[in-house]
Subunit: 271 residues, 2 copies
């Protein structure tokens, strides 16, 4: 089911700037029994991402009503929210006035076949460009992710790890990454590229409340390969340990287990 500006529909105006320029933002989140999980975090992030592009975000009550309407079609749902700047004439100049378009779509959550198993990752050849004006924002300019994801089609590979143009690890094509080093968690600093996801922020908050040291840093590939543990997070998969990348293999470790349980407990309380 898909609601476009609150109305069930399967098409959008061809003049929408989301299509013309990728001029918009999106979110993907889980819902249980019609209620989105961690809604406040997701809505705040959507609002911050809209602000980063000077798009006036949709009112929270309006969006939440759409999300509930699509979520309640399934006991466990994945909901995708897209907000674009709306329609405009040809040309990059911002349309005045400008009415954002909202798209809210729901699908049943597929249970991961083997959620506790570690993921095998591909090390992507594509390097993420540095663009501080867009770093951290989950915008619709995602060709880098598309090209990186097109590098493999082996179904045994669950994610691709992406480096930036300075050869630092930034994250997966659809996930954020954490490493454990001597009992401390680190996640890539995302001031030049990458998407600063909601589950990444939740992990940092959970680590803080569990007195687990956790920080942001520029992380070289070698440092990730040398890490005691590596795990990937996003709002749909939750937390998944990295089991293998190339010749490097990891066994699931205590910090991934601890944080994974804390995330799941939070989800259960939220649901």
């Amino acid at each position: 089911m898909r609601l476009i500006n609150g109305i069930a529909a399967d098409s959008i105006p061809a003049a929408d700037r989301g299509l013309a320029y990728g001029d918009g933002v999106f979110r993907t989140l889980r819902a249980a029994d019609g209620e989105p999980l961690h809604w406040q975090r997701h809505f705040n992030k959507l609002g911050a991402d809209c602000a980063g592009l000077a798009i006036s975000c949709v009112a929270e009550a309006t969006l939440l009503a759409d999300v509930r309407a699509v979520a309640r079609q399934f006991p466990r749902a994945v909901v995708k929210i897209t907000v674009t700047r709306g329609s405009g004439a040809r040309g990059y100049a911002l349309p005045v006035p400008c009415t954002p378009l909202r798209i809210v779509e729901g699908a049943p959550l597929r249970a991961a076949a083997d959620a506790d198993a570690g993921i095998t990752a591909h090390l992507c050849r594509l390097r993420l460009a540095h663009q501080p004006a867009l770093a951290g924002i989950k915008h619709l300019n995602r060709l880098e992710n598309v090209l990186a994801r097109a590098e493999w089609n082996d179904p045994a590979i669950g994610e691709g790890l992406m480096l930036d143009q300075h050869e630092n690890v930034i994250g997966g094509t659809m996930s954020n990454v954490f490493i454990a080093e001597q009992g401390r968690l680190l996640t890539p600093r995302l001031d030049q590229c990458g998407v600063a996801g909601v589950t990444r922020a939740r992990v940092m908050a959970l680590a803080a409340s569990a007195a687990t040291p956790c920080g942001e840093a520029h992380l070289s590939l070698q440092r990730v390969l040398d890490a005691d543990e590596v795990f990937l997070v996003n709002s749909v998969i939750g937390l998944r340990p990295l089991a293998r990348m190339g010749v490097r293999a990891w066994t699931p470790g205590p910090l991934a287990r601890k944080i994974g349980r804390a995330l799941a407990a939070e989800d259960a309380r939220a649901a």
Copy 2:
């Protein structure tokens, strides 16, 4: 008038990856009496850009029929062609099979109020990121152009000049740039970012056939400010000299005049 996959329509599927990820390419060109100008160059560039993203381009005859159908609505038309990868399920992986979507739209060409007058340009603060995997391609990930164009709203400013992250000049938000230095033309090398437009290629070919030295180089802002002439080109405006940027003013010079006339003569023969 707008044709979507050859049929008059004003909406596209909401599942299109052009919307979701900016997963597509576009072109804007002129037409006269129903015939597109410099069609072979535009179609070849569209095909090359599709190939850069591993999108199978639409057949030439199919696209040309669409272009003619929208172009003949006006004596002089601007035609925009968009080709996306087509619809897909959620996720970055390429859909298999995959059917590209084509959008062809036409509008009357607005005569420039003062086509011979020079343009006043804004020097954009946004810096273009280096992404060799996408450099030169006119793809739908254009948030950098949107943000740069949003830096000014003075109607006296006709274009914004953009630098890259190494402070080299790359082009305008919607045009390519040439400078004249002691009788020689130079245009920014576009191996890291920017769009390598059809009119840019035409200028280089015209310069070669007129025995005017013309090359590509990494051009610092200072070198552009010190140039004898600066001019901007694209397929809709043709050639426009740069008259002013900040405190620097230029008077229209002989090379802009010569190349501008050669472009116009080619257009007249093509039309």
